[in-house]
Amino acid sequence: MQLLRMAARRVLKAVLVDLSGTLHIEDSAVPGSQEALKRLRNAPVAIRFVTNTTKESKRDLLERLRSLEFDIAEDEIFTSLTAARNLLEQKQVRPLLLVDDNALQDFRGIPTNDPNAVVVGLAPEHFNYQMMNKAFRLILDGAPLIAIHKARYYKRKDGLALGPGPFVTGLEYATDTKATVVGKPETTFFLEALSGTGCKPEETVMIGDDCRGDVGGAQNAGMLGILVKTGKYRAADEAKINPAPYLTCDNFPQAVDHILQHLL
């Protein structure tokens, strides 16, 4: 009886937390999150901050989070930029980097002359017709297309804005090829995020505001997903994935409450 109950009950050992839209929205913290994070740290769980942010290097992220009074260490952050860099090194290719200038520092040391690969991140300043044509021609000539992630859109102060996903999809259609996506919701991203924690997906909960990207992706990787109604969340998002999120709640502090009360 005891064994059955234990098998049915997951043991929680790790928590993955999305950044933009979950802990903070641009330069403001989601109220109560700093304190909620402190409470989570008192529990016996490994914590990793995972993000598809392509505009900021790890340094930038750390500075912003610390200025918002979040207690976070650099090696607790895993970004899709890191995942992309790992892939470029593996394939030994020279990328045309359609990424924000700020993000370039995470690619330092990788040759970019005479590109034979295309990396697409969130880079509105590069998504003009000329640059898109340049990328298109490279891919048509055989260059692999690597997408940092395929988010449809994200929330800016002035409203919703197109993410890299639509542009990657367009290039895939133009060249009749498929991009290799390294960020959420790819399973490889979630698994790589756990490396170094010694934890398995079944022992992990992911908290995020992007139903398909954070929660759907995590659950497909074998984790539990908690959807928070902040950031890019829109009404009824939770109905868009199957299986539905393990839990949908108002915000990060509420998600932490639930974990502390029910999952430990």
Partner: protein, 229 residues
């Protein structure tokens, strides 16, 4: 010769970087006897669709195409029309179109074609289909394509001539968009071995033309001969 035979004639094109007026002028300069009201192009076809359905468009098209939409009410748009906008495919413009769509309860995206790319003197360039796919993905919707090979397009040309599909023949160089599209509407279609034609087109896995001819002149000869039988 076609006109002399008494057959009705229409020119079907996916050109969306210029108004009909402009490219008819170009053809006239090349010596063709053609007038604007004989042309079925995506923009006017789209205008018909928009009027029928009381749609007010937000336009993401080439500057030179805008005049085609002058007669339409564009205030408070309830749909987006996308054409081969070339340099107008900036992030800012795409974002504006996206915001219109994502703010609508019933988002409607009308695309003037679905081409992937075309060839210009300075290389290959992305066509409207690419940006149509981008907005489809962003909003999780399906665009309605006006322009070859959409049925709507051929049907609208036939309606303008007041002719049934079985009474019409399409002549074109694009095996999928001209020939395939026309046949799907119940028309017969001939492929000409000019333009983007390639020999492998004659073994296309999905489309078999009703005939393959060397050029437009030959196509016309055949048609007119058949008529006089």
């Amino acid at each position: 010769m076609i006109k002399a035979s008494g057959l009705k004639l229409r020119f079907c094109t996916n050109e969306t970087q210029a108004t009909r007026g402009k490219f008819v002028e170009k053809l006239q300069r090349l010596g063709f006897n053609i007038s604007v009201n004989e042309v079925t192009a995506p923009a006017p076809a789209a205008c018909r669709v928009l009027r029928e359905r009381n749609l007010r468009p937000h336009l993401l098209v080439h500057d030179d195409l805008v005049p085609e939409f002058d007669q339409l009410d564009k205030a408070n748009p309830n749909c987006v029309v996308i054409g081969d906008a070339a340099d107008n495919f900036s992030y800012k413009n795409l974002n504006e179109a996206f915001r219109v769509l994502i703010g609508l309860e019933n988002p409607i995206l009308i695309s003037l074609g679905r081409g992937r790319y075309y060839k210009e003197t300075d290389g290959l360039k992305l066509d409207v289909g690419v940006y149509m796919k981008a907005l489809e993905y962003a909003c999780d919707i399906q665009a309605e394509v006006v322009g070859k090979p959409a049925k709507m397009f051929f049907q609208s040309a036939l309606a303008e001539m007041e002719v049934e599909p079985q009474q019409a023949i399409m002549i074109g160089d694009d095996i999928v968009n001209d020939v395939g599209g026309a046949q799907q509407c119940g028309m017969r279609a001939l492929q000409v071995r000019t333009g983007k034609y390639r020999p492998c087109d004659e073994q296309h896995p999905e489309v078999k033309a009703d005939g393959y001819v060397n050029n437009l002149a030959e196509a016309v000869d055949i048609i007119v001969k058949q008529l006089h039988k």
